[in-house]
Symmetry: C3
Subunit: 113 residues, 3 copies
């Protein structure tokens, strides 16, 4: 397993739960892409309310029966890995917000035993 | 629609689900404020456990029947937009943690077609 | 109550929901550690899908009946507080990702009345 330490990049992708990519939810396709491209790790979080590029308000309340809750995908890896995968992500995300920020990675990997 | 690229600000507000603002939950009032003030996007996440300014432990477990789970609101926009909306947020949040960090925005907006 | 303002550290710990520490879930033990060590605040978020150090895909879908969903713990405090607690966290986390990033804290504490 690859180690990953020091200054790296945290990529965050804000999309909607109802966004599609081909046959499935966009967030699953993005998660599959990140994994098959070898990005070290990714976490998908679902919000309970929010709004985005279209300024529609999404909530989990009674008035919003649609399932278009906000989805936030967080992935951490090197700048080089992110540069390689970003054009593919950009091609899949039709609407949404993608941010990058520097993070200091203390540890990624099981301990040596 | 406004474009939003380059170095911007991610604001994060940590409050409790049971915090109130007037007639409704504080997080909904904050979300409405962010939207009506034209902040580009916001996402509300609900935690399953946590503690904050009052150091009370909140969990979704059996022993914690109250609904005071942690709420995290994330919003991204320019420094100028954040500076304008922050005094209003500060006036609404009685207890909580507000953080700002720089992020690099790759894309916010539907693709040109 | 301690005030906390200006440039501080946001620590983020990515683990799995099924990770154990002694008799309980690792995330609860970490939350207890952070609180007893006096870290200003912490929030535990549960993802709906993800993968990590072992590259296993975790989802909340039908095919993944295990409860090993991703867990993200976020905590904010001074660099000194984080330096003190990090060796203890590192000793408890067998597999996972720990990141640190600088954030600007606007407010932590109830308002003076």
């Amino acid at each position: 397993m690859r180690a990953l330490e020091g200054e790296q990049i945290c990529m965050r992708i804000f999309i909607g739960e109802s966004d599609r990519a081909g046959k499935g939810p966009l967030y699953r396709e993005l998660l599959n892409l990140l994994r098959t491209e070898g990005i070290a790790g990714a976490t998908v979080l679902r919000g309970i309310a929010g709004y985005g590029a279209k300024s529609h308000l999404h909530t989990a309340g009674v008035l919003a029966l649609s399932q278009d809750l906000p989805i936030l995908i967080e992935a951490v890896d090197t700048q080089e890995h992110m540069d390689r995968v970003l054009p593919k992500i950009d091609a899949m995300v039709d609407e949404g917000l993608i941010t990058l920020e520097k993070v200091h990675v203390l540890r990624y990997a099981p301990k040596q035993k």
